[in-house]
Symmetry: none
Subunit: 414 residues, 2 copies
């Protein structure tokens, strides 16, 4: 089944809001094993909406619209769809009663224009809206299934997740199951080079590579009659991808590097503290993005000048004088210093030039040293991330997570 | 001019990511006075992309594509567009040199598949990518203008805002000048209420209100023949908006609250340090997002447990026992403690329940206390931000910036 999601709303075309409904519905359809081939946005304009509907019915088996079901003059989705599919609009009395009751409840007089929200295509399945006034609906015409949902995400999301998905699950049959294999330390091109043959030869499951924010993932997706059969198809392919890529794989179906690290440290009962210079708090922020981080994370220090590096972390004046604040030696003393000061099993020290400027000695912007203290030993990694301040800081944090994962798991530190 | 934005990427249709590029580009086109009539998303599939392009060229004068310019097998936008518009792809040597230099710089071997990123339609205007590898381009064919931009928002956004909008401004004729008036501490509806008449009566300049991440802005935009004429139109309207809104206006054309604060503290020669509990490093991270923050920012401490709050900040055990870590009293001692420990003019202390859980005593999630120490005096603000962990942390940082701006500027602390 080929699906198309059509959002109706000039406010999306003006950039006032982002079309998050399309993502929410796409995720739901993916779960149901329904392929989304197109997402379209059109304004509150009946001619253009009609044209878009004509194109959609010619190429899709399922059309889901969002928006344009409200009471105002420019809400025209209901009328336009009914006309395009040759359906009459008839008053749905239970919906009108629900809308009237809603206004009674908030103590306001219902205006006449609200009645049109209860006008629905004859013979449709009504999708009740328990989160707002406009009901949704679903019907079939000429072999095309049409679902109409309201635009506000607070109404659209719960309606789709309950009544909408239940309606579609009956139509679809079969399931889709995906696993995400997460990779750090190998670029997208190199990864695809290695997986090229496997990607070309795989049809079910399929393999899709993605790169985002300095890391990569491979999504392996199988379609089958049942979840069990899909999992049986997935298992050998997931293993083959992991074997092919080697120890750059840091997790399967894990949300992020910080989540992988949080899980590991919590399981092992290890504690962590961090000392940051150029990342300026980003590392600490990302660690505490994970709900429950207080189980392993004691805290951090952002030491943004030499004086504080010496005072709080005990970095030696001679180290700063001889090697400067951006050096392997300083990163090492920062990592040790924070672990001692905060009394934790692991300590991270990060120092570098995030940019836009590099060092006065010619060290380029994007040069960062990451020190990791663990079990009496401190190791330092040097990276160069030349894609701007924000990315350099992000990459430095990723490398800190990678070092912790590798050292605690006993993998090789590269 | 009628524009259509086409995003190419199966990851959008799968719901893995939301199409934020479309919003960003729509906003930019709106500024340029170009109407967006359609936003379309299609997968990494050359047949379907070609069909979508055929539809688009029949109904739009300007087509902007995002995505599908990368080095991998499924990146097919370049080839498909060139074919659809009858353009040959030719090697653009400066882009290849730039890509090669990029790999040299990061010390990695460039794989052969990266070369195709430098293959561009003959005769096009190349849009350099200073944020990644794939260049963009623009050309005209049969009266339709086509712009191709890469998919990652970190590349797409700056490329569109610089080279892309400059290219389009030339097509549109005239100039457009905007000023952004930034507001903290007043909601969007209240702001719109106050500006209602002015908004209704203004045609050139126009006023557009926006709300994002807990703050608001009013964008005032004038069209004219020259920049000077546009500025003359803007000046009285900008002043009127500021007068109407009063002291919730924290800046005009300033990038963010942290940038406004950085400018102020640098000018005044004041120094700052911060102590964070629930924000976990976010405040420090946002301060150091500002390039040059080291001029006023000495550093921070993330104190994620009571022990570290006592040890590093000198918060009293009795305070924690009597009032708990999430209290006005603790925020106060944290603010004072960090200013003393780090020897700065100003000190911030933040403690609260970011969520998902609130306090055991029934204090709701989203309750945060922000203490500000300055000139021997400490003031505390209590906020309730009940929209989830991330938003609560963000709002707490915003309030810290607002408090600093107000206290140092001598505005009333509300």
């Amino acid at each position: 089944m080929r699906a198309e999601i059509i959002a109706v709303g000039t406010e999306i075309l003006l950039g006032d809001i982002v079309n998050t409904n399309a993502q929410m519905i796409s995720l739901g359809l993916d779960e149901l094993g329904i392929d989304v081939f197109y997402q379209t946005v059109v304004g509150d304009n009946p001619e253009r909406l009609k044209e878009v509907l004509e194109i959609a019915r010619g190429r899709s088996d399922l059309i889901i619209t969002t928006g344009g079901l409200g009471p105002t003059l420019d809400d025209l989705t209901r009328e336009t769809i009914a006309e395009a599919f040759g359906k009459k609009l008839v008053l749905h009395k239970p919906s009108l009663r629900r809308i009237t009751a809603f206004f009674d409840q908030i103590g306001k007089q219902m205006t006449q224009n609200n009645v049109k929200q209860a006008m629905l295509p004859a013979g449709c399945k009504v999708l009740d809206n328990d989160w707002g006034t406009a009901p949704g609906c679903a019907f079939e015409a000429d072999g095309v299934h049409v679902l109409m949902l309201p635009g506000p995400p607070k109404e659209c999301t719960p309606m789709f997740h309950t009544a909408g998905m239940a309606y579609l699950a009956k139509l679809a049959g079969g399931v889709i199951v995906s696993h995400n294999i997460r990779i750090f330390g190998m670029g997208e091109s190199a990864m695809e080079d290695r997986l090229h043959e496997l990607m070309e030869s795989s049809t079910n499951p399929t393999l899709a590579p993605y790169a985002k924010d300095g890391e990569c993932l491979v999504r392996v997706t199988a379609k089958a009659e049942t979840i069990e059969v899909a999992e049986r198809l997935l298992e050998p392919v997931v293993r083959q991808v992991c074997d092919t890529l080697g120890d750059v794989v840091y997790g399967i179906d894990v949300e992020s590097m910080e989540h992988a690290m949080a899980k590991l440290l919590t399981e092992k009962g290890l504690t962590l503290s961090v000392a940051e210079s150029c990342t300026g708090g980003l590392l600490s922020k990302r660690i505490t993005d994970v709900s429950g981080a207080s189980k392993f994370y004691k805290g951090g220090a952002c030491t943004y000048c030499n004086e504080i590096k010496m005072k709080v972390l005990g970095v030696k004046k001679e180290t700063l004088d001889e090697f400067t604040a951006v050096s392997s030696q300083t990163a090492r003393e920062m990592a040790q210093g924070i672990a001692m000061a905060y009394g934790t099993d692991l300590g991270i020290g990060i120092t570098g030039y995030a940019g836009p400027d590099g060092g006065e000695d010619g060290t380029p912007a994007g040069t960062v040293y990451i020190g990791l203290y663990y079990q009496g030993k401190t190791q330092v990694r040097r990276i160069l991330s030349p894609r701007g301040r924000e990315r350099a800081r992000w990459d430095a944090a990723n490398n800190a997570f990678d070092m912790i994962l590798r050292v605690v798991e006993g993998r090789k530190l590269i």
